[in-house]
């Protein structure tokens, strides 16, 4: 079993365990974040300040839009941000959720949607590979989000590249040779209110878990002292 397979198996097992824990209390990732909420309001963020997870290096909130902007079957979506220092948070990806609380797709949005710094490829990889899910410190939802990120850490970098390609294509004049003009065109595309989503990646959790867990000896990893779960690092 190579490192990448171990990584996928480990995080699949971790996610399955979290699903079972949520199922035991008739919950799921979205219901976890809506605990104690009487009325769900569109356009409002849950929790308002965002949920910190993965050792406080990541932040996420869930919300629903009045009009579906991302996926026709979507109930709402999580937005995930990562700490890039200097008290700045960069948007990483969105995670669409259906009416039964199941993930539908990952998506990358245009810059105007979330504002803030534009996340580059190298920093994205660093942040993604550093995601942890410490069961002793994190909420179930925090662990679920971390596991989803790690489970898709082979595909999300490609999605980020798709985002950048799509943005380049949206720029009005692709034949420009002047870098300054190209940057201007790109900045205009980033602020184009007609472009919300730049790239999407469909999620089939059942298929993913079956692929990673069936007909394989299950590996669980335990650590003494810190009790911190760190999966075998994948080689991408």
């Amino acid at each position: 079993m190579n490192n990448s397979n171990e990584h996928a198996t480990y995080w699949s097992l971790n996610l399955l365990d979290l699903l079972q824990q949520m199922a035991e209390k008739n919950s799921n990732a979205v219901l976890e974040v809506l605990q104690g909420i009487d009325r769900l309001e569109s356009e409002r963020r849950y929790p308002d300040a965002g949920l910190l997870f993965a050792d406080n290096q990541w932040r996420a909130f869930y919300h629903c839009h009045k009009d579906n902007l991302v996926h026709p079957d979507e109930h709402g979506h999580f937005h995930l941000f990562t700490d890039i220092g200097d008290q700045q948070w960069a948007h990483v990806a969105g995670l669409s959720i259906d009416a039964n609380g199941q993930p539908l797709q990952w998506f990358m949005v245009n810059r105007w949607v979330t504002d803030g710094p534009w996340l580059g490829h190298e920093l994205f990889l660093d942040k993604l590979n550093a995601v942890t899910a410490d069961a002793s410190n994190e909420t179930l939802l925090g662990q679920w989000l971390a596991s989803m990120l790690q489970l898709y850490n082979g595909s999300l970098p490609a999605l980020l590249k798709d985002r950048d390609k799509a943005l380049a294509l949206k720029s009005k004049d692709k034949s420009l040779h002047d870098k300054g003009l190209k940057d201007k065109e790109q900045n205009e595309a980033m602020e184009d209110r007609d472009i919300y989503t730049l790239a999407t990646l469909e999620i089939n959790l059942q298929k993913m878990l079956e692929q990673n867990l069936l007909n394989k000896p299950v590996i669980t990893q335990q650590q003494n002292q810190s009790n911190k779960k760190v999966a075998p690092r994948s080689v991408e």
Partner: protein, 75 residues
């Protein structure tokens, strides 16, 4: 080694049924989002003799540019 002494434990094989059951039990209907922000109307109670609230002649009645509506999914 103080904190990274990992032990690999080979446990039983997970079945497709176990995955399906976990996912199925995780499917729970989510509440429908209400469009409260758009439909909510303010109720203003004015006592007898009090002045009516200004309609178009002060700063408060002017539309406010919201940073969240400019970037609807920002932190």
């Amino acid at each position: 080694m103080k904190h990274t002494q990992a032990k690999l434990i080979f446990a039983g094989v997970i079945s497709a049924a176990a995955i399906a059951v976990a996912l199925d039990h995780n499917r729970q209907q989510l509440p429908i989002a209400e469009d409260l922000l758009a439909s909510q109307q303010a109720v203003i109670i004015i006592d007898e003799g009090e002045a009516m609230p200004a309609e178009n002649n002060d700063e408060c009645s002017k539309p406010v540019a919201s940073s969240r509506s400019a970037a609807p999914c920002s932190l």
